[in-house]
């Protein structure tokens, strides 16, 4: 502290000079001999850029360019692209208030709904297939696409601001921002009705708010401090509420806060009391756990408030939940089923009836396999008496009363009424699928195959043991007792011998989700009468019941987790996390065969590889610093090291936390899952560029108070070479962007040779590539 008098103070505070505060958050052993430059000694251009006016000009230019690049030809293509199938549809449901189910939290989708409502979308178009035309269906899709484009464009100035707030010079901040600005993957992702633009925007705001919050750390519990703490929490909640991956942002703020608290706990630094620590701890618990959770929940609350009508998501939910949805007809008219009732069964996914008719399976199929030649059991789409089955008990029943109700896990037989035969399955391959079992029927009075006619009614969603089996709402699987197969059907139709009806077979995977059936109707009771109004307690209720919000939320959240983990099917454009930073593989979003146009999600390869280089250099610097310090050497000035470890280190945590968990996931993974990490790596690349260009930084940057010990300040001086480097690099980046742009914007169409020339890496699987006539 002896050199205090000599220090150049950036924000001279009169009280500061009299402060005799011993400790400081900054390390004790400061290099007093550091170079600290005068802001006035810099070149004119640099002084201009470092000033607020210059900064505003730069950020405005970047933002304007970002809007231009993201809105350019946003109306093209006028067709449904890639996952717009899902998210466009969900937006439509918000407008029609129909309940739907999705693995992602609702915020971003609600925003799309809002955007759609704002531009006059009536929600009638359901975005069924990739390639459906918006024009013919009269969908105001440009308005909906404008939302992610705005958010994606605003991400660029936020990135700029993060770097600026972190104490880097304007050129460095512009460098990081341009890595996002000129990135084809970010642009492609922001121009379509997809969740990622919102996710990335909120995530960058979270980082920005946290950096701001840290800068106020010496002014603890002031208004600014609280504001930025709560802002961090708020944006964090928005990130999480936009897409399920957003939870990683929550984790990475959590990690940073742990480091922070650990530091505050350290008695050697400040000598704080435990009370001081507890107040900090509680403030963070409130601001970064409780408050974000309230925000997150409130989005769900709105979600449930908006979606009040019965819709496609009903069937995912429990019966109690379904009762809260208006017009949920399944539940409104469901009845208990008694033994000897005559029923019609319907498959939940394909809506066909369980059907049988006297025709038999042919002895031999086309592929040479043989059948049992039993009576055909098929799935039929229309009402017919051949769909009538009587449910026969395998246990003794009381004469009357509720003892005759069919319950969960009861073993039953199903009697086909018109032919008086019992449903049966056995170890014979089904007509279309050799791996699945054939379903047929067997004469009722022939007891030789009795065991093969036994089926267990297994109600869905782990219903309790004695749950009554109900029509409409009683979703169940029919499990064959001896062979454990589940009755299943799939949209493939049988040949002419079965009148092109749908095949029904036994699926050996009892956990198959599509093996769910329900009872469409109770045709008659055991006396062949219309069933009387037998369940007084089930009087149809017209008014939807209410249900506790938290119960609803927990049910939905659990389902979301389960389904998210269940997304394991493979996809042609799925790729492993190791490929992502190197931009090894992209995703084909949309193609148009006539004009040879395509949208292929792929990053600006120069930008991405710069980020990878930046990351590796940073890790190299950190490792070298560790090793050197281990050998008692000290090559990096303390102020620079502080920046590298504390600020860029935080970016590295952001990068790692948004990236590493994907290695442990078994679900489908796509390169766009890397975009949040890519943004973090752009920040790191900026910091590394600064380190390479100059060993000066703006320091200190945190807001000082009377208690803060003053430190020698210095100013970033990247010099003219910094400006030249960034300008030159930006130009190269932009040219690469333009070169790949036809794949990003999906226009203009490309000839085969052009496609080949755009295929910078052989692993990019572009469409319409010219065939090599013979290889070299």
């Amino acid at each position: 502290m002896s050199s205090k008098g000599k220090l150049r103070q950036r924000n001279p505070q009169p009280e500061a000079s009299t402060s005799n505060y011993e400790y400081d958050q900054v390390q004790e052993d400061e290099h007093h001999a550091d170079i600290y430059t005068s802001p006035k000694s810099r070149s004119g251009i640099e002084k201009f850029f470092e000033g607020s006016q210059g900064s505003i000009i730069v950020v405005s230019a970047l933002t304007a360019l970002a809007f231009a690049l993201r809105f350019y030809k946003i109306s093209h293509p006028d067709q449904v692209v890639f996952d717009e199938v899902h998210f466009g549809k969900f937006a439509a449901y918000y407008i029609t208030h129909q309940y739907y189910f999705d693995v992602h939290p609702p915020l971003a989708k609600m925003l799309f709904g809002l955007a759609g409502w704002f531009v006059g979308f009536d929600g009638s178009f359901l975005f069924e297939n990739i390639g459906d035309s918006y024009i013919t269906n009269n969908v105001p899709y440009v308005g909906m696409r404008a939302l992610p484009a705005v958010l994606g464009s605003l991400t660029v100035p936020v990135v700029y601001a993060i770097m600026k707030e972190s104490g880097f010079s304007t050129v460095i901040a512009a460098f990081s921002a341009s890595l996002i600005l000129f990135d084809n993957a970010h642009v492609a992702q922001s121009r379509l009705i997809l969740l990622d633009a919102a996710l990335i925007f909120f995530m960058s705001l979270t980082i920005y708010s946290y950096v701001k919050f840290r800068k106020y750390r010496y002014m603890e519990f002031t208004l600014e401090w609280w504001t930025w703490l709560l802002m961090t929490g708020f944006w964090m909640a928005c990130t999480w509420a936009s897409k399920v991956n957003g939870i990683l942002t929550v984790f990475c703020v959590g990690v940073a806060v742990l480091f922070d608290l650990w530091d505050i706990l350290d008695v050697r630094k400040e000598g704080h009391t435990m009370d001081y620590f507890y107040s900090h701890f509680l403030a963070r618990a409130g601001g970064l756990i409780l408050w974000p959770f309230i925000v997150y929940l409130s989005f769900f609350w709105i979600h449930f408030r908006v979606l009040t009508q019965s819709g496609p998501g009903d069937t995912f939910m429990s019966p109690a939940f379904q009762e809260t949805l208006a017009g949920n007809e399944l539940l409104m008219s469901s009845h208990d089923i008694y033994y000897y009732d005559i029923l019609t069964f319907r498959h939940k996914d394909t809506k066909v009836f369980l059907h049988s008719h006297p025709d038999r399976y042919p002895l031999q199929y086309e592929d040479g396999r043989v059948s049992s030649q039993g009576q055909q059991v098929t799935g039929y789409g229309h009402n017919d008496t051949n769909n009538h089955w009587r449910i026969i008990p395998t246990k003794s029943l009381p004469e009357t009363g509720r003892g005759r109700i069919v319950r969960n896990n009861d073993v039953v037989q199903l009697l086909h009424m018109p032919t008086n035969t019992l449903l049966l399955t056995h170890d014979v391959a089904s007509p279309l699928m050799p791996t699945n079992q054939e379903f047929t029927t067997w004469a009722r009075d022939d007891y030789t195959r009795h065991n093969d006619t036994l089926f267990k009614i297994q109600l869905a969603w782990d219903a309790p043991e004695n749950e009554p089996f109900k029509s409409k709402s009683g979703y169940f699987k029919l499990i064959h007792v001896p062979t454990k197969v589940a009755m299943w059907t799939h949209p493939k139709t049988l040949p002419d011998w079965a009148f092109k009806q749908q095949e029904i077979n036994g699926n050996k995977n009892p956990s198959e989700r599509s093996a769910i059936w329900y009872v469409e109707d109770i045709i008659a009771d055991q006396y062949n009468d219309e069933p009387a109004d037998r369940d007084e307690d089930q009087r149809p209720v017209k008014v939807p019941k209410s249900m506790n919000f938290f119960k609803k939320y927990i049910e939905l959240q659990l389902l979301m987790f389960q389904h998210n983990a269940g997304l394991t099917a493979s996809h042609p454009y799925a790729s492993g996390p190791l490929n992502w930073p190197f931009m090894i593989s992209g995703i084909s979003f949309w193609t148009d065969n006539d004009t040879q146009k395509q949208i292929y999600l792929v990053g600006n390869i120069i930008g991405w590889w710069t980020c990878v280089v930046g990351l590796s250099v940073f890790v190299g610097i950190i490792a070298a610093d560790l090793l050197a310090r281990r050998r008692a050497m000290d090559p990096i000035p303390d102020s620079v090291r502080n920046r590298l470890w504390n600020n860029t280190g935080f970016f590295l945590i952001v990068w790692g936390v948004h990236y590493a968990p994907f290695f442990l996931m078994n679900r489908q993974l796509f390169v766009h899952h890397y975009l949040p990490s890519h943004l973090a790596s752009a920040l790191i690349a900026g910091s590394v560029l600064n380190f390479i260009l100059s060993d000066t930084i703006n320091y200190p940057i945190s807001y000082a108070t009377s208690k803060t010990r003053l430190r020698p300040s210095q100013y970033a001086d990247t010099g003219f070479k910094g400006l030249a480097t960034v300008l030159g690099y930006g130009l190269v980046l932009f040219m690469m962007f333009i070169y790949i742009a036809p794949l990003t914007y999906g226009t203009p169409g490309l000839t085969g040779e052009q496609v080949n020339s755009k295929r910078l890496l052989s692993t990019w699987t572009l469409h319409f590539a010219a065939k090599k006539t013979h290889d070299s």
């Binding site: 706990l265 699928m433 050996k508 281990r630 699987t765």
Partner: protein, 827 residues
């Protein structure tokens, strides 16, 4: 009783002027002990006992067992009770020639030490006076007697009723069979490395078994199989776990109490006991795991004197032990990871030690690389070399290996195949990628994509692997009587599957697993087909003749290019789902990657009546190639062992079921007349050890938080020791547990058995830390706690010993075994 000996530490410092007897310095004790000490032995401390307490090497009483020799400088009889335990152990390292008893008071004044060491730096101690009573003898030799007693007890538990069940129990069906293959010298294939199974074979050889038994599960052993002798030999490995546990605890510097407890837990766990009593690999795996940990701790205690003989010996043995444990089961890689992390941390510490010269640093690195990487790899490869040397006859595992390797096995007549392949030949095609199989097809069709007949790669030989080489549809049709037309580079052929008549076909449908490739299927029949059935032969080279234009069986490496699509037939260890019977996917790769061995094929079996037998002289298949090939095949099969959702495997369990012993495992049939074995642990050992892990983590967290607040609970040395033992136990446990959570393959209860060891060490450590080494409790309290714990242990062991010794009669008559609802021990 438990009074500590005078403890001294070797710093290798020169004699200080006032050092009367030897250059070791005494360790100062905290006051109670200090006072205590003086009452006994004032002279030996001279006037300098209080002069300095060593700053670094302060230890609490029995921790002094680490790194230091027992001073026992005052060797008069009264001082033996506590200290002798240590000095007994040191006896073997005693430098006898240094000792001169000519007329001196040798017991008080050993000769000055001359600076030469013969062993670990536990400097010379002098011999003890001959024991006069039995008690004295016992006390003098505790360090030997205790492990001997434990070993004898262990022999009893491991060998008691070992032959009670005369049937093939559980996985004896596998490992016994593999042992038989060694005796019959027939090549077989298995997912585990060969060392353990070779030892099974050796046990069979030594006990006079001829390898003729099939080892069918549950079958009664015939008289020709000396199964009891074999089980005894393998159980010996299990016996040795107990003394190893004892010595490891000693090396970890635990107190006597904790050492006894740890050893007793290893002795009395019914899980370890049960698994050691059969013809299985687990006893060897456990033994080598224990041995590795022991070697590591032993090596750690040599660290203060690098590059001494003992240091080298134990470093080297650690490497050998790693090699052995990984050669028994790949699970050994987990304990290797523990050694690796220990070494990295150690080297990091050394790196920060600026007193070491660059040369010393380099030597440290080189020593680790040689002993911990090179040596284990050599041991691992040596086990495969021996494996290949023994198994030189054709056997059931042939088809996992390359065609050349098979051709060199006795009893295989590939080399008699006709040499030149011609149109009309019936062949099997072998993929030449690492772990590749035979091109295969079967009547089942793809449930996805084109729904045409499946084409796969398969490792077992049946006639579904046979293909006819036929000319293209538009070519002159093959005439069985016409002139022979040999297969040449560039020929366009059609491959017709012999049993089903379908043609090898590819089209623009995406393949089921490798989505970027085209599907390969069987299509059409002998008369129906299209131009998507055409494949062009591209010869890569001939391993024997170099580059030739004609296809020879076995030696020619070739690729098949799909004429219409330009893609290449490829099989790259991608496993099909259950509908493809977990066989390897065959697809057509759009990328033309010339270097990709997975697109290389060779003709393996070749039948053509019109051609003469080849009778080729073959090159030996190089060892490294076979070694690598077999390892890739093992990995692929291991990864294919994923749980099958179609079948509920009642034996399998999830890792979360293990630490609290959620369920056990029936090892054999459960009939009333059978002898029944139930694989489960002694509940108190499993539960206690798991709880101790949580307690240790919590303790660590509390200490580190207090440390951040500047509370010093322990001095640096105690803290280091607390951390060291804790790290060995915790990371050992985590490395053996966490991978099971991540890996997709099916897991069983016995996978936790190596893991359990580290939990048990942690249990000992936690008890040691809180009770037995605590200064808060009196010896009496410690003795009571110890007694209670031991009786609980023994009682539970006795209560559950039946599950390992074998339950006779109806199991429901054995009351009180079902402590958790989920144990399916009763019918």
């Amino acid at each position: 009783m438990n009074r500590p000996p005078a403890v001294a530490i070797d710093f290798g410092t020169p004699d200080s002027p006032n050092s009367s007897s030897f250059e070791f310095e005494e360790v100062g004790y905290p006051d109670p002990y200090h006072q205590h000490q003086h009452q006994y032995d004032p002279e030996s401390y001279g006037g300098r006992a209080n002069e300095e307490t060593l700053p670094l090497h302060y230890m609490s009483e029995e921790k002094a067992r680490r790194r230091v020799r027992a001073g026992a400088a005052a060797g008069n009889g009264s001082d033996f009770d506590g200290g002798a335990a240590v000095s007994g152990n040191e006896k073997e390292q005693f430098e006898y020639q240094e000792y001169d008893d000519a007329g001196k008071d040798v017991y008080n004044k050993p000769k000055p030490y001359n600076g030469q060491r013969i062993s670990s730096g536990r400097g010379p101690s002098h011999p003890l006076p001959p024991p006069t009573t039995i008690t004295e003898f016992l006390l003098q030799n505790t360090e030997v007697i205790v492990p001997v007693v434990y070993t004898l007890l262990s022999c009893w538990t491991r060998f008691h009723r070992i032959g009670a069940s005369n049937t093939v129990v559980w996985d004896e069906a596998h490992f016994g069979k593999f042992g038989s293959h060694y005796l019959k010298r027939e090549f077989y294939f298995d997912v585990h490395p060969p060392l353990g199974k070779m030892l099974v074979g050796l046990a069979g050889l030594l006990s006079g078994y001829d390898g003729s038994f099939e080892f069918k599960s549950g079958e009664v052993y015939p008289d020709t199989v000396p199964y009891v002798a074999m089980r005894v030999m393998l159980a010996t490995f299990g016996v040795l776990m107990v003394p190893l546990a004892w010595f490891t605890s000693v090396e970890l510097g635990m107190s006597q109490w904790a050492c006894h407890l740890t050893t007793l837990m290893v002795l009395l766990d019914v899980g370890w006991l049960c698994i050691s009593r059969f013809i299985l690999l687990d006893s060897m795996l456990l033994f080598f795991t224990f041995l590795t940990v022991f070697c590591l701790t032993r090596f750690h205690n040599e660290q203060f004197e690098p590059f001494s003989i003992d240091w080298w010996v134990w470093l080297f043995f650690t490497g050998i032990s790693i090699g052995c444990v990984t050669s028994v089961k790949m699970i050994g890689l987990f304990v290797t990871a523990l050694v690796g992390v220990y070494t990295v941390e150690d080297l990091w510490d050394k790196f920060g030690d600026t007193r070491l010269t660059v040369r010393q640093q380099f030597n440290h690195w080189a020593a680790r690389v040689v002993c911990l990487i090179v040596v284990p790899v050599l041991v691992f490869m040596a086990s495969f070399k021996i494996h290949f040397l023994i198994l030189n006859h054709s056997g059931p595992g042939d088809s996992q290996m390359s065609s050349l390797f098979q051709a060199n096995l006795e009893g295989n007549d590939f080399y008699k195949n006709p040499l030149d392949v011609a149109f009309g030949s019936r062949v099997t095609l072998k993929n030449m990628g690492w772990g590749g199989g035979l091109l295969h097809s079967h009547v089942q069709s793809y449930p996805v994509g084109s729904n045409q007949q499946q084409v796969t790669c398969y490792h077992y030989k049946d006639n579904n692997n046979e293909w006819n080489i036929l000319p293209a549809w538009n070519d002159k049709q093959h005439d069985p009587e016409g002139p022979l037309r040999y297969l040449k580079d560039g020929d366009i052929i059609r491959l017709s599957h012999v049993p089903t008549g379908r043609n090898l076909h590819s089209h623009t449908v995406t393949a089921p697993v490798s989505k970027l490739n085209y599907e390969v299927s069987g299509y059409g029949n002998l008369t129906v087909g299209d131009n998507h059935d055409y494949w062009q032969v591209e010869i890569v080279d001939d391993t024997k003749r170099g580059s030739v234009g004609q296809v020879h069986s076995l030696t020619t490496r070739m690729r098949f290019k799909h004429v219409a699509l330009g893609c290449y037939l490829r099989a790259a260890n991608a496993v099909l789902p259950q509908w493809g019977f977990k066989q390897i996917e065959v697809s057509c790769d759009k990328e033309n990657n010339r270097k990709d061995a997975h697109t290389y094929w060779n003709v393996e079996s070749h039948w053509n009546d019109r051609l003469p037998a080849g009778d080729m002289k073959l090159y030996k298949s190089p060892f490294l190639r076979d070694f690598w090939h077999l390892n890739v095949a093992m990995m692929t099969s291991n990864n294919a062992l994923i749980p099958d959702p179609d079948k509920e495997d009642i034996l399998a369990s999830k890792p979360f079921d293990w630490p609290f012993l959620h369920l056990g495992l029936r090892m054999c049939g459960w009939g009333d007349n059978q002898i029944k074995y139930y694989l489960m642990g002694t509940p108190v050992v499993w539960w206690g050890s798991t709880i101790s892990l949580g307690v240790a983590l919590l303790t660590f967290a509390v200490y580190i938080l207090r440390w951040q607040r500047k509370y010093n609970d322990m001095d640096a040395r105690e803290w280091d020791h607390f951390l060291y033992v804790g790290k060995i136990a915790f990371f050992g446990w985590a490395f053996h547990y966490v991978p099971f959570l991540i890996m997709g393959r099916v897991t069983y209860l016995h996978h936790y058995l190596p893991t359990l060891y580290f939990a048990v060490l942690m249990f000992g450590h936690v008890l040691d830390h809180f009770i037995f080494s605590s200064r808060r409790f009196s010896t009496r309290t410690k003795a009571i706690v110890f007694g209670v714990l031991v009786s609980i242990l023994v009682a539970t062991f006795w209560w559950f010993s039946g599950v390992a010794f074998g339950i006779d009669g109806p199991v429901n008559e054995h009351w009180g075994l079902k402590w958790r609802e989920t144990w399916n021990i009763y019918n």
